[in-house]
């Protein structure tokens, strides 16, 4: 029988071309000495495979209908056996895929692997980057809950700013004039058919190019890339190389394996994300937040000057993408080592730190009013220890007029406006009255909503907000204020 089996194997091999085509690919020489820097690309691919498998599993139960999606997500999370874990893995591996993809890009960029002859490998990689972020956004929409609903709304508002075409593009995005059934159906189609299809096609091209041009050798400071000499140099490097399989691939396997183990571990520990409240736009108390990938954008849109906003929404992404595509054509030759490329290293650092800071700010969102602070955060009792009835009335006005939603006292309350714990040290009575009545500096005017007696009481309370051993602020026009006890015992 073994003879017969070998005969079958030989026949299959001759017809399928394994030894002729596949084996040489597996055994192609890769430069040695690449160490552990080169493992991120294959780990990103591993995450994609995990996403495809868990995604297919989830689609067995998930119902992509606006009326049923939320119910089926709850069923998946609480009733379907191991449904919670598969949802958690899909969500965690999505994050893992984005993180590993960025790590891969940073490594390729810093080591100059995008230079001659691998320019198009980088360009296709940029397409993969965009498609992966597209998967992240569309996936977030399929979690058809409150955040997801308003996330689409924000997307529509952004698209709606495109000159002339805005309204048409909004309808194309939503599949109609409202966010609803047609919207979910098209995001489902994007997430499970269109984007994965494009992703797999682009990935095939990317991998083909990796095979065609070979894995780049670790950079050596001073060894410049020149199209005239590089191919010969690379051939010499390969002579000292090791076969991709089974030598170089081992590091990829080990790293990918532990990446998967980490993802499963985090998924078990953290559990699935949502679904939060149902996607009902009449539940007006929603405080939508995007998934972490897009928190930095969320922060940018709160912090940028309003007159630059449309430019940041519409033009900055185009410039960003263009710059990424242009990288290998602007810097396709010369030095590869990060030791001799300070601009590349600094650019990377600035981008990563900027993204990190914006994400952190997006997470804390200090620009958002704390909508329940007026009724949920009492005035710290020590501020009321020695106040007059008028000042006490002022504290009531301060809470009831929802000042607290934007102004913290002792650090609790909204952070949209300044913390007022010591406001009387910087503003005198007249300035306080003017600020309350006229607003300004990003504060609305309250003149129409406060009676004169309420203003008097409120300002009297605000004047107590200073350290006890200091006099209240005074201006030359009004002269020094009468001595008054501060709020610090």
């Amino acid at each position: 029988m073994p003879g017969r089996l070998r005969q079958i194997a030989t026949w299959l091999d001759s017809r399928l071309g394994f030894s002729d085509v596949v084996l040489p690919i597996l055994r192609h020489p890769a430069p040695s000495g690449s160490r552990w820097w080169y493992v991120f690309g294959s780990a990103t691919l591993t995450m994609l495979v995990l996403q495809i498998i868990t995604g297919i599993c989830l689609s067995l139960v998930y119902v992509p209908s606006a009326a049923e999606a939320y119910t089926s997500l709850n069923y998946l999370t609480y009733d379907q056996s191991l449904g919670w874990l598969l949802r958690a893995i899909h969500n965690t591996a999505a994050s893992g895929m984005v993180i590993l993809m960025v790590a891969h890009m940073v490594q390729v960029f810093l080591m100059g692997s995008f230079k001659y002859p691998r320019e198009m490998t980088w360009v296709v990689g940029v397409a993969l980057f965009v498609l992966t972020l597209g998967m992240a956004f569309t996936g977030q929409v399929l979690r058809w809950d409150q955040d997801s609903y308003w996330g689409v709304g924000v997307g529509a508002a952004m698209v709606g700013r495109v000159p002339y075409l805005g309204p048409a593009l909004v309808r194309l995005l939503l599949g109609g004039t409202t966010i609803g059934a047609d919207t979910l159906s098209r995001f489902f189609t994007l997430h499970v058919l269109i984007l994965p299809g494009l992703l797999i096609i682009s990935l095939s091209v990317h991998l083909f190019l990796v095979m065609r041009h070979g894995v780049s050798e670790p950079p050596v400071a001073g060894r410049l890339v020149s199209p005239a000499t590089y191919d010969k140099q690379y051939a010499a490097v390969l002579k000292r190389g090791e076969p991709f399989f089974p030598a170089a691939v081992m590091r990829d396997m080990i790293f990918s394996a532990w990446a998967v183990i980490a993802v499963i571990g985090i998924a078990i520990a953290v559990g699935p994300k949502g679904p939060a409240l149902p996607p009902d736009p009449s539940l007006i108390s929603a405080e939508p937040r995007p998934d972490w990938y897009f928190l930095s954008l969320f922060a940018l849109l709160a912090l940028c000057p309003p007159n630059m906003e449309t430019a940041i929404i519409l033009i900055a992404p185009v410039i960003g993408l263009f710059s990424m595509v242009l990288v290998p054509f602007v810097a396709g030759k010369g030095e590869r080592s990060p030791r001799r490329r300070p601009v590349a290293v600094l650019t990377t650092l600035v981008l990563l730190v900027g993204y990190g800071v914006l994400t952190w700010l997006g997470n804390s969102a200090p620009w958002s009013p704390q909508m329940d602070a007026w009724s949920g955060e009492p005035v710290p009792p020590r501020m009321l220890a020695r106040v007059t009835p008028l000042e006490l009335q002022g504290a009531v006005v301060f809470q009831n007029k929802t000042c607290r939603n934007c102004h913290a006292l002792d650090g609790s309350g909204g952070r949209r406006g300044p913390d007022l714990t010591y406001v009387a040290s910087s503003l005198d009575r007249d300035e306080l009255i003017r600020q309350v009545i006229q607003g300004g500096g990003n504060m609305p005017a309250f003149g129409d909503h406060l009676s004169p007696s309420e203003v008097t009481a409120l300002v009297a309370f605000l004047q107590t907000l200073r350290p006890s051993d200091t006099a209240p602020a005074a201006s030359a026009a009004t002269g020094p204020a009468p001595p008054h006890k501060g709020n610090r015992p």
């Binding site: 939320y70 609903y149 939503l174 004039t177 609803g180 939508p288 958002s368």
Partner: protein, 188 residues
């Protein structure tokens, strides 16, 4: 079965293969005609298949669903001097829209007797604004947009005041024209 070129049927003007190789299979004129006809056929096929597909894909743009008048309730439900949240079902919806077919709007009946109907979407990026009667302000939870009770922008990033829905009084009832999601270039 072996390939036997001499037994294949040949076109008019074609010559059989011989030891020197195969001659031109078709005359140049015939080949040119084939090229043109092939290109024309491909174009026609693409149009025949492509037009309905593109039309289907663009239908939300070409034939958007029209906004409809919706009854928000008897006018007497909205006392003067108050702003109220109304929760209604958007008449422009699919039967399988589920909860996403709900919608909210704010009805303001000013002391002066004027009615205003505001969409709940912030004009900055569309998040839902909350009305605070205590301070007479609409606050947005996303980026801190603030509006006065008459819908004007008070502070924060919104580029304009709240979107106002077209409305009318009919037989003692308040009607508003609702449907599409309001955006900057396609306000309510």
């Amino acid at each position: 079965m072996n390939y036997e070129p001499e037994k294949m049927s040949l076109g008019e003007g074609d010559l059989p293969c011989n030891a020197a190789g195969c001659p031109e299979p078709t005359s140049p004129a015939r080949r040119r005609w084939l090229g043109w006809f092939g290109a024309l056929s491909a174009l026609l096929a693409s149009l025949a298949a492509g037009l309905p597909i593109v039309g289907y894909l663009l239908s939300p743009v070409i034939r958007p669903r029209k906004d409809l008048w919706l009854d928000l309730g008897p006018v007497s439900d909205f006392p003067a001097g108050a702003t109220q949240l109304v929760k209604v079902e958007n008449p422009v919806h699919q039967p399988w829209d589920g909860k996403s077919a709900q919608m909210a709007a704010y009805v303001r009946h000013s002391q002066a007797g004027e009615f205003q109907v505001f969409a709940a979407n912030c004009t900055h990026l569309g998040c839902p604004v909350t009305w605070f009667p205590q301070s007479g302000l609409f606050l947005c939870p996303c980026h801190g947009g603030v509006y006065y009770e008459n819908g004007e922008r008070a502070s924060g990033p919104p580029p304009r005041g709240l979107y106002q829905l077209v409305h009318q009084m009919k037989d003692g009832r308040l009607l508003a024209k609702v449907g599409h999601l309001p955006t900057l270039q396609d306000p309510a």
